[in-house]
């Protein structure tokens, strides 16, 4: 792969920030967009813009066709059995909330257990807390070990038939841990437990096959994988989707409406009330095309090489503590704490050198408490990042050390 040529597909990367070439290492928060995705958005608004599924005119036909083609692409992208299992959402967070508010409200009762882990993003904690409060169910957490992996002994005792739903993160946004999803889902399935995978950091970084993983629900966001912001996907296994009540009511999700009651469409339209983010969906389709042309295996390998190299080089910085797995078997991010600078001061310093990173609790406050750090600084990579950029990062960390000590 010619990764430098691929990098040239991203217009935004070619700029200086505070007088230095931009080194964008905040990909776990949001990725950049290739030219093809940006052009798809403008092309749609310049040529095809109309509402979908309603009118019979030419523009509406084009918009509807491109919109539904993107649903097929998304289904293929994650190995779903049918495009009818693809629900467009605003992102991972909305996907999780949809499951909590439909399947969750319908199926959970007092005494039931919702099982999650100690390394979840707030978006995979709070919807379940709200659901537990509504239904009287109990929320339990699988503890995280010092090396950033899940406590497998605790899984044996916590994953019981009392558990109705097991939801966990595929790749941790704060630790980089890649959870053994297939194995964990198999354990849950053997007990009849419904499973939900938070794919925010895995989709677009590695091949995803929901049928091989065996999960019932899988949620991901478009903007973390070269797509626009505000669009995401919830995959649900059709056998479950069919039984679920609607969440939002409105146009597009009904078969018929009378003054007394309504009947609803089949999935996925049952869960897509109102005019959707049409341009976002179509551009997400373009992002999927783009990623598949590079190849998810290639991206995964490159991610892995970057993470490995970053782990080696960053380990050279005196006073650094890297959270999560100490091996290179991790997602494309390294979260760390430096004994000489608070994350916000470090991020400010790095920014003045053109390096974009995130500092703080990364929406995982319980995890920060667990590791007794107020927050961390996170360098997160994508396939357009280079070894030279990691060298630059290390150089800036060493400069920061001189500056702050």
């Amino acid at each position: 792969m010619d990764w430098h040529r691929i990098r040239a597909d991203f217009p935004i990367l070619d700029q200086k920030v505070n007088g230095h070439p931009l080194v964008y290492l905040d990909n776990a928060a949001s990725s950049q967009k290739p030219r093809t995705v940006i052009q798809t958005l403008s092309h749609y608004y310049e040529r095809d813009n109309a509402n979908v599924h309603r009118a019979l005119h030419e523009l509406s036909n084009r918009a509807t066709e491109a919109f539904e083609a993107a649903r097929k692409k998304a289904a293929h992208f994650i190995g779903a059995a049918s495009e009818d299992e693809i629900i467009f959402t605003r992102g991972t967070t909305e996907g999780i909330n949809l499951v909590a508010n439909t399947w969750g409200t319908q199926n959970l009762r007092t005494g039931d257990v919702i099982l999650i882990t100690g390394m979840e993003h707030h978006s995979n904690i709070v919807p379940w807390q709200l659901l537990a409060q509504r239904t009287g169910a109990t929320l339990k957490y699988i503890p995280v070990l010092d090396d950033g992996t899940l406590d497998s002994a605790a899984i044996e005792t916590l994953l019981t038939e009392q558990v109705k739903l097991f939801a966990f993160v595929h790749v941790s946004n704060s630790l980089g841990t890649i959870n053994p999803a297939k194995e964990l889902i198999a354990k849950a399935k053997a007990l009849g437990v419904v499973t939900m995978l938070d794919g925010a950091q895995s989709a677009g970084h590695m091949p995803i096959d929901v049928r091989d993983l065996g999960c019932d629900f899988f949620a991901f966001s478009g903007h973390k994988m070269c797509g626009p912001t505000g669009i995401g996907v919830l995959y649900g296994r059709m056998a479950l989707l069919e039984t679920m009540p609607p969440w939002h009511g409105g146009g597009e999700m009904i078969l018929s409406v009378s003054m007394e009651s309504s009947t609803y469409k089949a999935p996925p339209h049952r869960f897509e009330a109102g005019t959707p983010d049409i341009s976002g969906v179509i551009a997400l389709g373009a992002a999927i095309d783009y990623l598949q042309a590079i190849g998810l295996e290639n991206i995964q390998r490159h991610d892995h090489n970057l993470a490995n190299y970053a782990m080696q080089r960053m380990g050279e910085v005196p006073g650094i503590r890297i959270l999560g797995p100490q091996s290179g078997h991790r997602g494309a991010l390294v979260a760390f704490h430096l004994d000489f600078a608070h994350p916000h001061d470090l991020v400010e310093f790095a920014n003045s050198h053109g390096v974009a990173m995130r500092g703080g609790h990364h929406c995982t406050q319980p995890l920060m408490k667990r590791f007794k750090v107020p927050g961390t600084t996170r360098a997160s990579f994508y396939f357009y990042n280079t070894i030279e950029e990691i060298n630059r990062l290390v150089e800036v960390l060493l400069l920061a050390r001189m500056f702050f000590t």
Partner: protein
């Protein structure tokens, strides 16, 4: 090679206060107390104040964790405010707020003393809340009963 703005933000005196905070610790009762935090970044501060019957701030201390700006601001605040009346404290707080917000009005250097060094924050709007964290907690503590 380092921008002047960044050097202004992290002056040696500020870094020194953040590394060696003055008046760090808790006061034992009777005293007023308030906790302040910035939920978006996780910075936290606790401020303890002992106010005499005639409304003077006889002692104040703080504990907390956060960035150099929030910790230095807290440390410098305790030095500046100790011995002042509640009204005087409120006036200094307002002067300081105007300086870090950079609202264009001339800073009262006599009133602020060393705190004027945090003027550099005005070039970094996202850090205003760091500089103000301890001051918000102080205000809350003084209003508490």
């Amino acid at each position: 090679m380092l921008s002047d703005d960044l050097r202004d933000l992290y002056q040696q005196v500020i870094l020194d206060h953040s590394r060696n905070p003055r008046n760090h610790g808790e006061l034992s009762p009777p005293c007023l107390h308030a906790h302040g935090d910035n939920p978006s970044c996780g910075d936290e501060i606790d401020v303890w104040v002992r106010v005499s019957d005639n409304g003077h701030i006889d002692d104040l201390k703080f504990t907390g964790q956060g960035c150099a700006i929030s910790q230095a601001s807290a440390s410098m605040m305790t030095q500046k405010i100790k011995g002042k009346s509640k009204d005087e404290a409120a006036a200094v707080r307002e002067d300081f707020r105007r300086v870090v917000m950079g609202d264009g009005s001339p800073a009262d250097e006599d009133s602020l003393g060393e705190l004027i060094l945090l003027e550099g924050v005005q070039k970094f709007p996202q850090r205003v809340k760091c500089a103000m964290l301890a001051w918000r907690a102080l205000e809350q503590a003084l209003e508490s009963k």
